[in-house]
């Protein structure tokens, strides 16, 4: 079926970009990654914000997130840059990624004799990867192959009435075409477990939905104590939000109205096609890393105040909730849902988003891609480092 043209990978997943990714296993390798990208700007490089000093659950989260970002279908080939003595080994990451069948190579700074010689070796590998991925052709693919990640950041009083409901219609549209939508940001589901539970496909999924939200509520109370009410802040109230249920409904409306088929952990790929909940944090850049690792090829990101944040190997379509923010940050924002406040219909705005989404699936660059393809990888972390 030809809904759009994408890059069909050997594991059957469909990419909408063809990145050669330079992926460090630890922040100590960032300098070498920087050398590589300066010599060869065509690569897509990420910088690590952590790496060593992780243990327990975090070790597992970081490993699977790095591996799964490498497996993201927008990535055609990967060069893993390790230091050598880090906790999360380059060869673990590389072997995890290679399970997808895509080309993966490792360079290790301690083994290659320092930053420069490592970068030189990596550049040679990247050149040959770039040469081979240039031969990849886009082929007909179906919307059923699309995993759409949802994100909101810098929300304002209009996010929940313009941009988010419009994205909700897009989510319903994609699910109706057989595609997958991932709603994450557990902190923004607080107070809505009774509503989301009802939308679960079966009691088991309902139970998982509830525990994700209850845990988010408990974490908020444990960390913030009496300040937990900050999740509905005075600024939210001035903006017209009265209850936490109202605020959260404004966030989860991005996911539309279909049944929730599955709940996955941060950075995990869904096994079902349809609406999925990922148990991830509210913070934008960490949340997008989880979505990218979950296999999202594209992200719809609504914003009230405006944010330039993108993601290195995943196009992020930015949607402003109001015209002032759109006009002030046109370089960073793709769509203005604020026209709804000037009389445009919800339906019409959602169609604008669908048209943009399809264009981006076919290769049109988003504002965040024009601005920068590289970036720092912020991974969700639940425990202290040591």
């Amino acid at each position: 079926m030809s809904d759009f043209l994408g890059f069909i990978r050997s594991d059957g997943l469909v990419g909408i970009r063809n990145h050669v990714l330079v992926l460090p296993t630890v922040s100590c390798a960032n300098g070498t990654v920087d050398l590589i990208r300066k010599i060869l700007p065509e690569v897509t490089s990420v910088f690590h914000s952590h790496g060593c000093g992780r243990a327990g659950k975090d070790l597992e989260i970081h490993m699977r997130t790095l591996v799964n970002i490498g497996k993201n279908p927008n990535v055609a080939a990967v060069v893993v840059v390790g230091l050598g003595c880090e906790v999360i080994k380059a060869d673990w990451i590389a072997s995890g990624i290679s399970a997808s069948g895509k080309p993966v190579e490792i360079v290790e700074i301690q083994k290659e004799g320092g930053s420069r010689s490592t970068a030189e070796k990596a550049v040679e590998i990247c050149k040959s990867f770039l040469e081979s991925v240039e031969k990849h052709q886009r082929e007909p693919a179906s919307f059923a192959e699309v995993l759409l990640g949802l994100e909101c950041g810098g929300s304002d009083a209009f996010s929940g009435i313009t941009a988010n409901p419009a994205v909700g219609l897009v989510s319903d549209w994609l699910v109706s075409k057989g595609g997958t939508v991932i709603l994450t940001e557990n902190t923004e589901m607080i107070g809505t477990s009774h509503i989301l539970k009802r939308r679960a496909i079966n009691p088991e999924v309902a139970c998982k939905v509830e525990s994700v939200i209850v845990e988010a509520e408990e974490r908020t109370k444990n960390v913030l104590g009496p300040m937990a009410s900050i999740v509905i802040a005075p600024g939210n109230m001035d903006g017209g939000m009265t209850t936490i249920q109202e605020k959260s409904l404004g966030c989860i409306t991005k996911a539309g109205s279909t049944q929730i088929l599955e709940v996955v952990d941060y950075g995990m790929s869904p096994t079902e096609k349809g609406l999925i909940i990922m148990d991830g944090p509210g913070y934008d850049t960490e949340s997008m890393a989880g979505l990218a690792a979950g296999g999202a090829q594209v992200i719809l990101f609504t914003t009230g105040r405006g944010t330039p944040a993108g993601f290195p190997c995943v196009p992020v379509i930015k949607i402003a909730s109001n015209s002032n923010t759109y006009k002030a940050m046109e370089d960073d924002i793709d769509i203005n849902a604020g026209v709804m406040l000037e009389g445009e219909s919800l339906q019409c705005v959602s169609e604008m988003i669908i048209n943009k989404l399809v264009a981006v699936l076919n290769g049109e660059k988003t504002r965040s891609e024009y601005n920068s393809l590289d970036g720092v990888l912020c991974l969700y972390t639940s425990l202290p480092s040591f």
Binding site: A157, I161, T242, L249, V339, E342
Partner: protein, 91 residues
């Protein structure tokens, strides 16, 4: 910016009994809704705040996004501003 121009409050879900004011509304003003209805504002409604579309009894559910966002703390009249003074989630 066509037949929908002129609307002053957005109805998010057909089941809702409140709408969201798109601009500051004064008492007595006619408020055309996005679904074609018109309500008369009884109080001031600040931009992005909620206006009641019909009378809500004390203890009655306030519905936005098609879901209960809280319960009326006292009787809310049609056209009244709905916020923390007359709405909370305590059942």
């Amino acid at each position: 910016m066509n037949d929908t121009a002129g609307i002053k409050a957005l109805l998010i879900h057909p089941r809702d009994n409140v709408a969201v004011a798109l601009e500051d509304v004064s008492p007595g003003a006619q408020v055309p809704l996005s679904d074609g209805r018109v309500v008369t504002a009884k109080t001031e409604i600040p931009q992005a705040h909620k206006i009641a579309l019909k009378r809500i009894d004390s203890g009655g559910a306030v519905v936005k996004y098609g879901e209960i966002i809280g319960f009326a703390k006292l009787v809310i009249e049609e056209g009244e501003w709905v916020h923390t003074h007359n709405l909370s989630y305590e059942e």
